[in-house]
Amino acid sequence: MHQRSSNLNTAQSLLLAAAFFGTSGAALADIKVGITVPSTGFAAADGKSALDGAKLAIAQANAKGGVKGEKIELVVYDDQASPKEAVPAATKLVEKDKVVAAIGGSYSGATRASASVFQAAQVPYAVAYAIHPDITKTGDFMFRVSAMGEVQGRAGAKLVNDLGKKKVALINIKNDFGQSLAAGFKEGAAKFGLTIVGEHEYSLQDRQFGALIANLKSQDPEVIYASGYFYTAGPLVNQLRAAGVTATIIGQEGYDSDKFMEIAGPASEGVLVTTSLDRDSSNPATKAFLADYKAAYNAGADMVAAATYTATQVVIDGLNKTGGKGGAALRDAMAAGTYDSPIGKLSFNDLHEVKKDIQVQIVKDKAFRRHSIISDPVLLAPPSKSSK
């Protein structure tokens, strides 16, 4: 009677709603792609770059009509570059927002944590610049568009060899980023017969390296292989030169930002970095990206932005092929693709790691310029499933 009629009314409204969404749903519902970035916290600077890179890719895709006419919506969650925050963020993307794919725009620790969530939910996760090996080992829904830590480390060792030097001091940042780079470098060092005269470590929050530098000076290296991010490398390089250290300094993509030169000042001249973004590239995809980024954000792009843009591209490409569907179909589409991206021509191996060259840039007149390219498929081969 009274109860029954209200139940019927509820049921009727539900049916109506279902019909409404069912028929017109396809046009109304956007395709949701998630992204985890450190928008706040110590890595907020990189988080902003990553997000800007992703947003640019999405905007460009939507301008071209999106995926089969549907717009792509980027759902952003802040993971503060912390594994603790990353897991709830990833969980929300999967369970609440039900994204069809996700982009990893954060640091290794947080990305590793998110990776297991996405793998369990069978949501393809394209990781931009987190280099820890375990990320792709988490499962076959993981993709990485940057060279892994170990690969970059080996490339660094080859660079030292190419420069004709032998005595190296390592300065490692104490986190998974620094550790994987150091591991790779030492592997390469053994191959090329380099001598590691000393190994030093510092924490993410350190900005003053007096004691470390004093120690390093007593070891008299020819080359310093120092890992870190622009906000640690900037002060480090500045202080190294100020202390009278003249050894060649080799950094990696963590340095890859104009802020590095701003902070280190004149000390940054001549610093070499192994990275994915070649500012002097003749590759049309790279040039277009650099120009578009500058136009959109009035700032020079850095590696983080380029990598995240690329990861987003990979996802969009895959979605175009599957017509907006996710799951195993999307994974397979992404795995099979070849991409002409700002960070080079990419293809994935069976572990969904990329096979590509490593760019070496040098700081000249306060800008990153091309120095050389390390192209050695054997040396730079990322691990594959069989080598797990």
């Binding site: 952003v76 969650y77 802040d78 912390s82 594994p83 603790k84 709830p88 290794s108 375990d134 104490k174």
Partner: protein
């Protein structure tokens, strides 16, 4: 439903964690800024043991035991120093814990631990376990509060010297508070590890200690019910606040400040003030 289950699990763990600190800081007046270390001890113990093959449920008592023992050690430190010094000493404990864990490869070092076996209970089962343990913690807290031991605790919190004069073995009671509080935190840690499936040194930083202390203080030191509520709200908050995204830490800091400035006794205090006003008006 999946998302809600995750959320409830997180809330349950936070409640347990906050109530365990409430025992030490709220009941017994010992300000601990190092409570995250005990969550960490519990988490790492559980993770390592499950990796070694022990079923998850059995790791909980182990986590409690280890955390409790370390808690007693830290408690012994509290016996030596005055209140303010204690706060900073406990702060040091967290840094020491993280600093040590970072350097130990067998504990995962910088990269932390992942891929340890599941609890085997399924998502819903695990949530129920968590909520059960949280309720148990609350029950234990309420019981202690009413019992003789609770009265001694609050006596120590208010006036330690008088208690000594009265012949109470203050040191033993302080240690008891630490032992119980840290053991419960250890249990929460085991749940935390299994829930997140990934733990690293960063998960148990000084910031964690501050967060849990805020839950206790915002709830109202000593009040079991309100601390639980504060823990639930503060742990779920970031989720609700995603839309303010960029400003959430600002809001959090502001909230803490405003709360202390205008209602130092936390939510419990606010409620008391409101109900006494009503009583007065009648």
């Amino acid at each position: 439903m999946d998302y809600e289950i995750s959320l409830l699990t997180t809330i349950g763990i936070s409640i347990m964690f906050a109530l365990s600190l409430n025992l030490i800081t709220g009941f017994c007046g010992q300000i601990s800024l190092g409570h995250a270390a005990f969550l960490g001890v519990g988490a790492y113990t559980s993770a390592m043991l499950t990796k070694a093959g022990l079923p998850f449920l059995l790791t909980i008592p182990a986590s409690m035991a280890l955390a409790g023992i370390l808690g007693i050690i830290v408690g012994m430190a509290s016996l030596r120093v005055r209140a303010d010094f204690l706060a900073i000493t406990t702060m040091g404990v967290v840094f020491l814990f993280i600093g040590l864990v970072r350097q130990q490869e067998w504990l995962g070092g910088e990269m932390g631990l992942s891929g340890f076996p599941d609890s085997g209970l399924g998502k819903t089962g695990f949530m129920l376990l968590t909520l059960l343990l949280a309720a148990l913690t609350a029950a234990i807290s309420l019981y202690i509060q009413k019992a003789w031991i609770g009265r001694v605790f609050s006596g120590i919190a208010e006036d330690e010297d008088t208690m000594r004069v009265l012949g109470i073995d203050v040191p033993s009671y302080k240690l008891a508070a630490f032992a119980i509080g840290t053991a419960l935190a250890g249990a929460a840690g085991a749940l935390y590890a299994s829930h997140l499936k990934f733990i690293g040194p960063d998960s148990f930083s000084f910031v964690e200690s501050i967060t849990v202390l805020s839950m206790v203080v915002v709830g109202g030191i000593g009040s079991v019910v309100w601390v639980a509520i504060a823990a639930a709200v503060l742990s779920a908050l970031p989720g609700w606040f995603q839309f303010i995204g960029d400003y959430k830490l600002l809001v959090y800091g502001g909230l803490l400040f405003v709360m202390m400035r205008f209602s130092p006794h936390g939510l419990a205090g606010m409620v008391k003030a409101l109900s006494s006003k009503k009583g007065g008006a009648q």
